[in-house]
Symmetry: C2
């Protein structure tokens, strides 16, 4: 008998029928002798409806009151799911974030969890009840309602699992696990049975949207075994584990990619201290996030060339700002291209296996794909290439590293 | 400078536009130097929408979870109204029932308020903020969310006014006050500037739907001055006061009526102890509420006749039960009529003014209206007449007692 925390997102509880289906699933786990805590999001569409009401009144809604408003979304779901469970003869009790008490800081709309009191939940579990908790929300120390920001329900589930020392935190989504790459790009993509926490962190930050990166960080910090699985089908999903030895054999866990890269280059900047700040400072002041940064010494060696990437939607403004900086710095030229993509290999196996980078570059070269930028970390290699090569590059790498075969 | 508690019902906050209008009204009171606490209901239609969701899952929703669900309705309104107030430059803060803390018993769906902690509200008022509180809800001593049952927002407002020792509790509705009778029946009906608490209680229990009877009882118990006024127009509304002397001059405050009466009579029942119970016990066991009861000694004096009224919708079942009782009691005959109405004169002036009953009977007789039943209390006289005489009777009495003229 184990203690399981399950999290169901907005799509999984998007209608009365789906709530009943979730109840049946929870009941089945209980019937197998497990103790189950369920964390739920608002029904899909509800949060947007509430935000619409708020914005009809205030262009920039009061942060404190927005949290009072939005937290009702999850509160509706916990009540309905508890009723659905009772209907199946499975006694259940619902709790809002404040009732649990999930204590957060006071940063409305983007609060961080500080502490969770597990006593009330444990008492219900001991009494044989399922416990249904509203995700995404908490209270600060003055009892004000707070929310964790979008996607925060994953974080709630992981934090509750950590507080209860749960055996596993199961995140139910509309996909049935983490794949070696996006199956829409490479039909041969294989579902991973396991992936390490570090790999999952890289995959999440590199564009794989299965899990919120914050919840993965949280799970890592508190050593909570996480499992991603489908709320619509059966199957074991993917376990995000901390046991590196088991997966060491697989050199590469998967291929992540980001479609929306834009590259900007400023050529012939005087090679002086502080020049990076002079170029990137104004970009950052405009709230534009910079992803990869590369600096080369130019041919004449008194100047330097500077290249960075931003999200494609930020490209026009970033270019405008960069042209201004180029004038201020007397740079030679500004170049840009907004049709770029980033492809990344991720795997803890890289640490102990040499030659992965060269094999990657060789594979891409064979397909005639020109690499525009390279960036590496301990467990990933990212390359920026022309957008038109995305599918070709992903498939070639997937094949070259044997990712379709079971590990 | 006074402390005012205002309550706005679902229709008054039924849309973004109406919430903005309520904010403007609250702001105007604040601008005049008053301290304002606002109690609101769910936006009209929202409670029904939520009940619909619950019933789609469970025919008889779990009472505890139904309260978790329904309480979100008012929570949405408090957030939106606080935003609307902030938008007008009027700092405001919202509180759920649990946040205030409005402590109730644990009777879910029909909880009773036990205690209200006014400290948090007073601190906000002292800081110059308007305070917006969710009506209809509270928490029990274990922190479970409770609701007071439909119409409970009036009770919340009165209870908060009592706890804060407010100078006045203003109930904003879609009518502009309490009238001498329903203006749809008698266009000359006059709005009362004042009515006593006892008269209001009688009016409410006799079918005048302006205020929930429970909130009037509460106001009476805690001596809270209540005012009923329109949330759409201007005007002073009607004050429900405790100063009887002021209104002593008016013999009659108003005429209430109930359209849905049905009369049942059992003739020739043996006149023995316990016979009333034998007749009414089975009716009450069937959850049928009995309104007026009259017992006469019959002509032969060894038997008695027994007449009572029920709501028209309960008539068929009540008749069925009564026929069974008649057989058991060997009664002579059972009679019934489901097209009856009750007309009531209400006024504390009756206590000191004789002849009101005879004037009432005379007035009805002049119009050829036959009185079928009579019942009196210290401050009201009710008669049951054929349904077709409702309008004629109300207008004749309104005229005879000079109710169109200002008191």
């Amino acid at each position: 008998m184990s203690l399981i925390v399950q999290k169901y997102g907005g799509t999984s509880v998007g209608s009365v029928e789906r709530i009943n289906a979730v109840a049946a699933r929870v009941h089945a786990w209980q019937a197998q002798g497990h103790r189950v805590v369920v964390v739920v999001s608002a029904m899909s569409g509800e949060t947007d409806r509430l935000i619409g009401l708020a914005k009809a009144i205030q262009v920039q809604p009061e942060p404190r009151e927005l949290d009072v408003l939005l937290s009702t979304g999850e509160q509706v779901t916990i009540a309905l799911l508890s009723m659905a469970l009772a209907n199946l003869g499975c006694p259940a009790r619902s709790y809002t974030g404040g009732q649990v008490r999930i204590l957060t800081d006071s940063a409305h709309n983007k609060a961080r969890i500080r502490d969770i009191d597990g006593a009330r939940i444990m008492a219900d579990l001991d009494a044989g009840r399922a416990v249904v908790v509203a995700g995404f929300q908490g209270v600060d120390e003055n009892g004000n309602i707070t929310t964790l920001g979008r996607g925060g329900s994953d974080t709630s589930a992981v934090a509750i699992a950590a507080a209860l020392k749960a055996d596993e935190c199961q995140i139910y989504t509309d996909v049935d696990g983490v794949y070696t790459t996006d199956p829409r790009i490479e039909p041969k993509a294989r579902k991973l049975e396991r992936i390490t926490f570090e790999e999952m962190l890289e995959m999440a930050s590199l564009g794989s949207k299965v899990l919120q990166i914050r919840s993965v960080e949280f799970a890592g910090k508190y050593k909570v075994p996480l499992r991603v699985l489908s709320s619509f089908g059966e199957g074991q999903g993917t376990l995000i584990s901390f046991e590196e030895e088991v997966v060491e054999e697989a050199k590469i866990a998967g291929i992540a990619f980001n479609r929306d890269e834009a590259k900007l280059t400023i050529l012939g900047v005087p090679d002086q201290p502080g020049v990076a700040y002079k170029i990137l400072g104004p970009i950052s002041d405009a709230n534009i996030e910079v992803d990869m940064i590369i600096q080369n010494v130019a041919a004449d060696s008194a100047t330097t060339d500077f290249t960075f990437t931003v999200n494609r939607t930020d490209y026009p403004r970033a270019m405008e700002i960069l042209k201004q900086s180029a004038a201020d710095l007397s740079a030679r030229q500004v170049l840009g291209d907004d049709a770029m993509v980033k492809i990344s290999l991720v795997g803890v196996g890289m640490r102990s296996h040499a030659g992965i980078a060269s094999k990657m570059f060789e594979t891409l070269a064979k397909e005639g794909i020109n690499i525009r930028m390279i960036s590496t970390s301990e467990i990933k290699i990212s390359v920026v290439v022309d957008a038109k090569y995305l599918e070709l590059g992903v498939r070639a790498l997937h094949e070259a590293f044997g990712l379709s075969e079971a590990a």
